[in-house]
Symmetry: C2
Subunit: 428 residues, 2 copies
């Protein structure tokens, strides 16, 4: 490392710590802001996004043009691109977050002790949240709004491909904070795309960050989990299974599997793996596969399923336990419920799994014994979504076991404290 490089590194570290200090100060204020003021600022933010629509789209055009120049794929550019409709959806998302109940200050438990002490468990913000994400610029608005709604300051680090779009969106949010007298540093962007900034966030800002939420692909999540010295609320892949039990109604199984796989193939709750009982493979699999193939899905079947799966190709061993995020599904025949449970425990990622059956005993065992973040009976895995759960917007689906699991919304971005009221009690 040359002296010049070292100096750049040091000045980045100083700049990042300044960001952290400002975030901590903003969080101290934000944690005590009344609900109505937060809601007003959120509604203002939605209005500012609508007002700033043309600038946001202009900035986004430059990002997209550069992405094309750099030869990024069509799927990536589609995730990146903003138009009037998408900006309106972003603003509407922020408006919806403004309508969520404020979790902060809510008493979640309350009891009295024999000595007369009363004890309350009260929700408080987490503090400062770092969010590291890729491509989709709407995350800038969603994540910032969720953090603000739950009284947290946030430090955003988006992908370089969306840098101009994110800056334009961020500017709208900051204007809204200023307009309502809230600290502008409550929502900050890491001002550089220097990759070392991520390293500093993960390793060197433990006193300023309470939690890091990574949103993105496998390699991002892996890096965060490896390097972070602050707690992480992460989500791993969604290697989701749908299991057609021998007690399944064939029409229901067709509808659910088709929806679970094909409604949207790129989301983490999309089914990637189909398991089917040996006893019903001859009756149930042909129509299921026929629907999938007709919808443009590539079906990869194991040796036992293949004779009942017209249009399918043979599956390889690697197809099981794989997250395709595409119109591809792996199909495997299992002996029975125990076999299915064992397979899912071995190959699943603990995200979301569904059983289709009219046999309530089998369903109860599946729901009880399978320890994924979300387990469903007779419903599509595509329901794995905070909005569909009625929790409002979410920052992701957590598959870790600590703090939050499943959809992470405003409620999950809080901690709690104990408030104890006495009348002079001392401990014997």
């Amino acid at each position: 490392m040359s002296t010049a490089e070292r100096e750049v590194g040091q000045s980045l570290a100083i700049e990042m710590r300044e960001l952290g200090r400002a975030a901590r100060a903003a969080a101290d204020v934000l944690g005590r802001v009344p609900t109505e003021k937060k809601k007003a600022a959120l509604r203002e933010a939605a209005a500012m996004l609508r007002n700033g629509r043309d600038e946001i789209i202009a900035a986004n055009r430059k990002d997209c043009a550069e992405a094309e120049r750099r030869g990024l794929g069509a799927a990536m550019i589609d995730r990146l691109a903003l138009d009037e409709k998408r900006v309106e959806a972003m603003a509407a998302g922020v408006d919806a977050i403004a309508e969520l109940p404020d979790p902060v200050g809510r008493v979640i438990a309350e009891w009295d002790r024999p000595n007369g002490l009363t004890i309350q468990r009260v929700k408080v913000p987490l503090g400062v949240i770092g969010i590291i994400y890729e491509s989709r610029p709407n995350v800038t608005a969603d994540a910032a709004a969720l953090c603000l709604a739950s009284g947290n300051a946030v430090i955003l680090r988006g992908g370089s491909e969306a840098a101009r779009s994110n800056a334009a969106i961020h500017a709208c949010l900051v204007r809204a904070l200023a307009a309502h007298g809230l600290p502008e540093k409550a929502v900050q962007r890491v001002p550089t795309q220097d990759r070392e900034a991520v390293g500093i966030l993960l390793r060197d800002m433990t006193e300023y960050l309470d939690v890091i939420v990574p949103r993105g692909g496998k390699s991002l999540i892996a890096r965060v989990q490896q390097d972070a010295r602050v707690p992480v609320i992460g989500h791993l892949e969604g290697i989701c299974h749908t299991y057609v039990h021998r007690g399944a109604d064939v029409d229901m199984a067709r509808r659910i599997v088709l929806n679970a796989k094909m409604r949207r193939t790129g989301i983490c709750g999309a089914t990637e793996q189909l398991l089917i009982d040996r006893e019903c493979v001859a009756s149930h699999l042909p129509p299921i596969v026929s629907d999938l193939v007709a919808a443009g899905c590539e079906v990869r079947a194991d040796a036992e399923a293949l004779p009942h799966a017209e249009g399918a190709a043979p599956a390889s061993a690697e197809d099981f336990g794989k997250e395709f995020l595409d119109a591809v599904i792996a199909v495997k025949v299992v002996a029975d419920l125990d076999d299915a449970l064992e397979h899912i425990r071995r190959y699943g990622s603990g995200h979301t799994e569904a059983i289709v059956t009219d046999d309530s005993t089998a369903a109860d065992r599946f729901l009880r014994e399978l320890d994924s973040a979300i387990v469903l009976h007779n419903a599509s895995t595509q329901f794995a979504d905070g909005g569909e759960f009625g929790m409002g917007a979410e920052i992701g689906i957590a598959t870790g076991r600590i703090h939050a699991r499943g959809p992470v919304g405003a409620e999950e971005l809080t901690s709690y404290k104990y408030v104890v009221r006495g009348s002079g009690q001392t401990r014997p």
Copy 2:
């Protein structure tokens, strides 16, 4: 590193991973064990501890003799030593844990969606918990019993000074598991005192450990938070403040301060820092200090408090924000509530703080605006304890903001999953 050393290191790593694999397998079984079976095993464990009393005490004598030979301090040896009374207290503690309600399987929230889906949030065990602790051998029984009660497998790593005592206690617990057909690997001890084993636990067993709970001094906690690649439920120091507001009843203030400081000085909820309003320093401080001095407490007062603190020495700057864990207290005069809040935010560790006042407006602000894990009004900070909260035994008082805060008992050693029941719903 010599070849021989490298081989030892490798064989340790292999041994530790084998421990992890066995713990994971045990956790899979334990998570589905009915409540009554867990309770029966816990009661059996208490009985085994009583039966094994003589062996436990004999093993402990050897530990104590070695500790004396090695010149460990009297306080350390007191924490280490076991006698009949302490073994009985340990067994009674396990019996009490057996009587706690089983958190696993409890439905903590339940709602219906307009599309007919019903959603439940259900408590599940965390999985495998690693506990790293020092000196007190009763932690072996307490921690293992709490983990078992909450359906978790546990890997225990106690201090080397208590190795024989811990082994004897552990043997009793394993006999109880075996007697009830539960996996013996549900409670494992790291079989070596090699310090590198801790490093392997912290860094190299991410697939086998769900969380690490450190219990011990500052340097242990700091090492764990620095090195751990798995989530940590830690607690920092208890730099607890008691604030005597100008609205305090002087007699209540005397009783509370004396108890908060002197009932037991070595626990994390002991008050270390006394703040007192300028307006009442002349009336309230003299009797408070007189009680403390009479009880054998060393009082270190700032310049403004000193004239009102007979028998006190002048405080140095380092006395503020210090965890004495001894019969020592620092006293500081503050201008008002705002000044007190600012001081606590700056010097506190976010553990426990109390205000003494009859002014309910001031009390409400203190309780609302201070963001420590536990905030109290008109009660001693020594109530910062899971048992005193009515939560049963605890593994410690968490000061982190993620997952659990305040007393960590069986309830806090769980996660949750979502159970969704439908009738064929697909997502539009």
